[in-house]
């Protein structure tokens, strides 16, 4: 009992000291590691909150990557001594959804765009207008493109899976060739999608289920060719008695 009672004010004051929690140093210092990606090597940086910066490995290597990181974030960064759990598997498979991201400093709009983009499955693509609709800003299509161009964590948040609705792949921070390589590595059939778009088909329905999807939706891949029906727009599909797919959510959100 008496050991609880500080014998003097000075001793009691010593008891007011606060010790940092175990992970405190990680709240200050970022880590990075080179990771094998779907197309070549990536440099990935993370904070205590999550992944904050990704670059495709380039000439100049790690030194140039960390220099750009420090310039942008004003935060010390050192090579990780332990890998970030789940990072290697996510980078290899393109499934970035299970990882945590640190998007501190981005505009709210950009964060919403990236969150919607993170939900696009491997091997599928969505139009820019789809992202705009998903975040409740259907008219902000060009702004979506700009926000994706600022994506600090490409490949893991798959901005390469957002393409133009005319069937071309559109712009990419790392260049259109890289975007195409990433999509082909995921076995997206770009040639088929382009052919459909040029013939005016932007949605594909199943004549048996009467469900209409975006052309790259994985549910479409299971529909036999003879049961597929193409539509120019959702209104045309709707008047033919088709309802939008719950998985790829073409068009307006239900709640909107």
């Amino acid at each position: 009992m008496s050991r609880l009672v500080a014998s003097s004010l000075e001793e009691a004051l010593r008891g007011l000291e606060v010790r940092p929690s175990r992970g405190f140093v990680d709240r200050v210092i970022a880590r990075f590691a080179p990771v094998a990606g779907p197309v070549g090597e990536l440099y990935v940086a993370w904070t205590a909150i999550g992944i904050s910066w990704v670059e495709v490995a380039s000439p100049g290597g790690e030194a140039a990557f960390t220099a750009r990181y420090r310039e942008r974030f004003g935060r010390p960064i050192v090579r990780a001594t332990r890998p970030l759990p789940g990072l290697a598997a996510a980078a290899r498979s393109g499934r970035g959804r299970r990882l945590a991201y640190d998007l501190t400093g981005l505009a709210e709009f950009d964060v919403h765009v990236l969150e919607a983009t993170l939900a696009i499955p491997v091997g599928e693509v969505r139009p820019y207008a789809w992202v705009a609709t998903e975040i409740g800003r259907p008219r902000a299509v060009r702004a979506v493109g700009s926000a994706l161009g600022r994506n600090p964590v490409p490949v893991l948040i798959p901005c390469h899976r957002v393409t133009r609705s005319d069937g071309t792949i559109g712009n990419y921070g790392g260049g259109p060739a890289l975007k195409e390589a990433l999509l082909r590595a995921e076995r997206v059939n770009l040639d088929e999608l382009a052919a459909l778009a040029s013939s005016g088909v932007h949605y594909v329905g199943s004549t048996t289920t009467k469900i209409v999807c975006l052309p790259s939706c994985r549910d479409v891949r299971r529909v036999a060719a003879r049961h597929r029906r193409g539509f120019r727009d959702l209104a045309e599909a709707g008047s033919a008695g088709y309802r939008p797919c719950d998985r790829c959510r073409p068009g307006l959100r239900r709640s909107a």
């Binding site: 609880l4 014998s7 007011l16 000291e17 606060v18 929690s21 405190f24 935060r75």
Partner: protein, 235 residues
Amino acid sequence: MSAGVARPVPAAADRALQHERGRGVLPGVQGAGADRDDEICRRLAEDLDGGFAGLVEAYGRIVLTVAARAAPVAEDAEDLAAEAFLRAYRALRRYDRARIRQLRVRPWLVTIVLNASRNARRDAARRPRTDPLAAGHEPVSPTRDAAELAETADAVRELAARLGSLPAKQRVAVVLRHVVDLPLSEVALALGCPEGTARSHVARGLAALRVAYGTAGARQGAPASRAEEKRRSDR
């Protein structure tokens, strides 16, 4: 009030001497702490990012305690401490190696966390609050049982609250000198005042706390003698 006697403002020569003491140049005055400071600064000058973890590990306790006890703000004290270290890093990026090696690193960090908390409070005043006040950090000793722990936590909260009601300079001075145990020369540097003034802030703060603590202490056990207290406060 014996502990509250202010010494005369030191002359320039005395200040130079204090500077030397603080640097750990004079033997026997302030050994290990200053040696460690020099070692950390040497590593920072060589490799800023690589040495920064050493800085955070060595002084996280001081910066966090100042954030929690001397500069309380509504936000989480660890957030504020982390923010202070990031500010320190951004400043160090602009310093050349010689300047980093010369740095009086502890008072410099304390100044940064105090400024950061001032900014955080100013920003918070501009925004209406929506969340309840964050709970303070309590040191936890795993050997104590729950009842004892609760009692200790109460005492800590009470003393922290009393500390919080002191005038800012006295509060900061008491925290630096008696909670994180900085030498008086570094307390003076952090407060930007002569050592005698710093000593006076410490003494007045202690005296004000003692008025309240004396009554609580009498309930629980004999308070230390005045002479002993004086010795401690002048240590």
